[in-house]
Subunit: 425 residues, 2 copies
Amino acid sequence: MTSTLDAPLYTTAARHLVCRGCGAQFPLAPQHACFECFGPLEVGYDPAALRLVTRAQIEAGPANIWRYAGLLPVGQDPATRVSLNPGLTPLVRAAALGAELGFTAPLWVKDDSANPTHSFKDRVVSVALTAAKGFGFTRFACASTGNLANSVAAHSARAGVPSMVFIPADLEPGKILTTAVYDGDVVAIDGSYDDVNRLCSELTETDEFEHTAFVNVNVRPFYAEGSKTLGYEVAEQLGWRIPAQVVIPMASGELLTKVDKAFSELVEVGLVEAPAGGWKVFGAQSAGCNPIATALHAGTDTITPVKPTGIAKSLNIGDPAAGPYALDTVRRTGGWMDYADDDEIRAAIRQLARTTGVFAETAGGVTVAVLGKLVRSGRLDPAAETVVFNTGEGLKTLDAVADLVGPTYRVKPSLRAAREAGVLG
Amino acid sequence: MTSTLDAPLYTTAARHLVCRGCGAQFPLAPQHACFECFGPLEVGYDPAALRLVTRAQIEAGPANIWRYAGLLPVGQDPATRVSLNPGLTPLVRAAALGAELGFTAPLWVKDDSANPTHSFKDRVVSVALTAAKGFGFTRFACASTGNLANSVAAHSARAGVPSMVFIPADLEPGKILTTAVYDGDVVAIDGSYDDVNRLCSELTETDEFEHTAFVNVNVRPFYAEGSKTLGYEVAEQLGWRIPAQVVIPMASGELLTKVDKAFSELVEVGLVEAPAGGWKVFGAQSAGCNPIATALHAGTDTITPVKPTGIAKSLNIGDPAAGPYALDTVRRTGGWMDYADDDEIRAAIRQLARTTGVFAETAGGVTVAVLGKLVRSGRLDPAAETVVFNTGEGLKTLDAVADLVGPTYRVKPSLRAAREAGVLG
C-alpha cells in the first residue's frame, strides 16, 4: 500500500460495465442489460487503480459510505454526490443473543437501521442517484417494496430533484407515509412488487420517462455497487478482518452477492488478508417468499417464481433477479440458506430487541430467526465469528409486534394505585 | 491548547454538584435537589481540568458523544459506559428551507433523529445510565413523554439491566410499542406527564426503588449534562464556531439551557473563540403547552403550569422544571420564544421533509414552525447564521401526517392503466 493519498480521490477505478452472463463489456452508461445476451450488467474496475486505495486513505475519509469512494464507480468528487451520507452504521457486539443461541465465538449485528431513512437502501440510492445525476437525468424513480421508496423520496427532496416512486398498494402504512411526506409523486400499484417492477421496466422505454432514472432499473449496475459498502464496513469495523460467517436477508438476492464481492475485492486489492478458512455466506428468506432458498434445498439451479405472502414485505420479491448469483455465492463459499415463518419472524424481532437494544423491521426478524435455525441445524458454526445483518427499522413495521407487546401495568397516578397494581413488586 | 492528549481521558473534570438556586455544593452523588433550598442541582467542574481538553483530542475520539468525554461528568473510561453510542448526528445545510423562509445567511438543521433510538434522548440517557451504573444502581427507570422511555428501554436491553419506564397511557402507539418491544417493564399511567413525574418522585423515596435509577429524577444532574453534547457538536461541525442563532424545542426547558451552557463552556475552556456578537437562543413550544413562552410574552418570571393538549406530545410538560432557567437564557442572549398550533406543526413537518429530506416528529414540526414565525415577526434575523434543532423522528408520530399525505396515484399494474391515470404526464 503506497502513499498516494490524494490522487485517486477524484477519479474512479470503474472502467466499464460487464455482463454477468457472457462477459461482454460496455461503456459506463445507464444500461442494465447486455446487448449480446440480455444478461445483467455490473461495474468492472481497473484492478491496478483499485490497488491504489489504502487503509489510511479510507480511515481519513468521512464517517459514511464515501470513505470508500475509491472503490465505488462514482462520487469521488464530493460536489457530485446526491446523498444523505449514509453508512458507517454500528457493528454491535451481540453477546447476550449469542449466548442464547449457543455461540462460543463472537456474534455481531450490523445495524443498518441507523442509516438516514433507516434501511440499507440509502447506500444503494446514494450511489445510484450520484450516477444518475452525472448522466444528466432530471427525475429520480424506483420500483420498491417500501424502504427503497423512502430513500429515493428523501434523497430527491434533499437534492431538490423531482421524484416518482412505484410501490405495491398494500405496503405497510408507515412506509407509504414516510415516502409521501417528502412530497414527491407516489404511485401505488394494485399488484405485487414483481408487477411494479415490470411496469417500471416498461416505463423506462417510454418517451415520457426518457429523462427519469429508475435507480434499480436503468442505473441498476451503479445501484448494486452501493451494497458493497456494507461488506467494506464490516471488515473495517472488525479491524480490517473478514468474519468467518455472514447471514444476510435476500429479496432480489443482490445484497448477498455484493457483500461477498466486497470481501473478495478487499482481499484482491490488498486491504485485508484472506482469512485462512475463507468465509461462508448464508442467506435468509421468509417462508412466504422463499424461491431462492427452496432452489438451494432442492439442489437445483432453477429458481421458480412464487407469489409472495407474509409480513416480511420488504423481502417480498417473488421473481428474484439476482437469485442465481446468490445460489452460486452460497454454494461456492460453503454457506446455506433457510427461511422463517411469520411467527418465527415476530419472535426473532423481540429476541433481537431484548438482547441487543436493536429494534429491527420484519426483514431483520427473518435474518435473526434464520440465524437461529442455521445454528440448530448445524449448518452454521457457533464456534466461528459471525455477523448478522439487520437491514431495516422496527418503527416501519410496527404491526408485526403490535399484538404481542404493550404496557406491563396500567395504573392511576398515585403511589397507592401503583402499589396495588404490583408495580412495587 | 497544550498537547496532553492522553492524561484527561480517564479522569473527569467534574468535582461536585452545585445548586442552581443558592450555589451550595455537594459531592457527586445521585442527588437532584439542594439540601439547603430544594433548588435543582447541576454538575460543577474544575475549570483548569476542562482547559486540558483539546480540539485534537476530541477530533481523535469516537464518532459519538464520547468524543466529548473530557467535558462530561462520567464515561471517560470506555469500559464504564452504558451506551448505544449516540451523537455526531448530521448537521444538514437547509438551503431550500432557508430560501422559502427568506434567509440570506446559512440555515442548518441539526438532525438528532439519527440517534440510535431516533431522538436526542439517547444523549442524556447514555450519560445518566453510565453515572447510575457507577453509583451501583441495579435497575434503570424514567418518567417519559415517549422518547425517553424508548431510549431507557433500549439502553437497558443492550446493557442487560432490568428497566421500568413510566409513561402517560395516551402516548402515540408507536412510542409505546417501541418501548415495550425491548421487554423491560412499561407502566402506563392514566394521567399527564406531570402526573407521571410526580409518581416517579414518590417512588424514588420507597424502599422498593432504593436501587432504581430514574434517569430524570435521582440522577438528573448527570442526565442533563448529556444535552450539552448537542451544542458541542454544532460548534465542532461548523468548524469550531458558534452560530449566531439557535432555535430549540422546549419541554422541561432543560435542553435549551444546556446547549447555551455548552457554547459558554467551549468559549471558557478555549476550544472556540467567542463570536463577536455573541449568540441568541430561541425557544419553541406548541400552542397546546406553552407555559414558558407565555411567561416570556407576559414579561413575567412566574411560569403558570398548564394542562397540555395537542399533537406535540413529546413536549407536553405542563409544569416545566427548567422553565425559569430557559427564560433567563433567552432574555440574557437576546433571543425570543414562540409557539405553534397543531396545523402549523403539521405544515412544518411537511415543509421540512420536502425541503431537506428530514422527516421530523411533531417536536421538530414545532421548532420549524416557530422558526418561520420568528423570522416573520422580526425577532430572528434571517441574515444571521442559524441552527434549528430537530430532536425526534417522524416515524414515531405518523398520525400527525396520516390524513395529509398519501399516494399521488393508485393504478393497476399496466402501462395502459398508468397512462390513463396520468402517471406519464
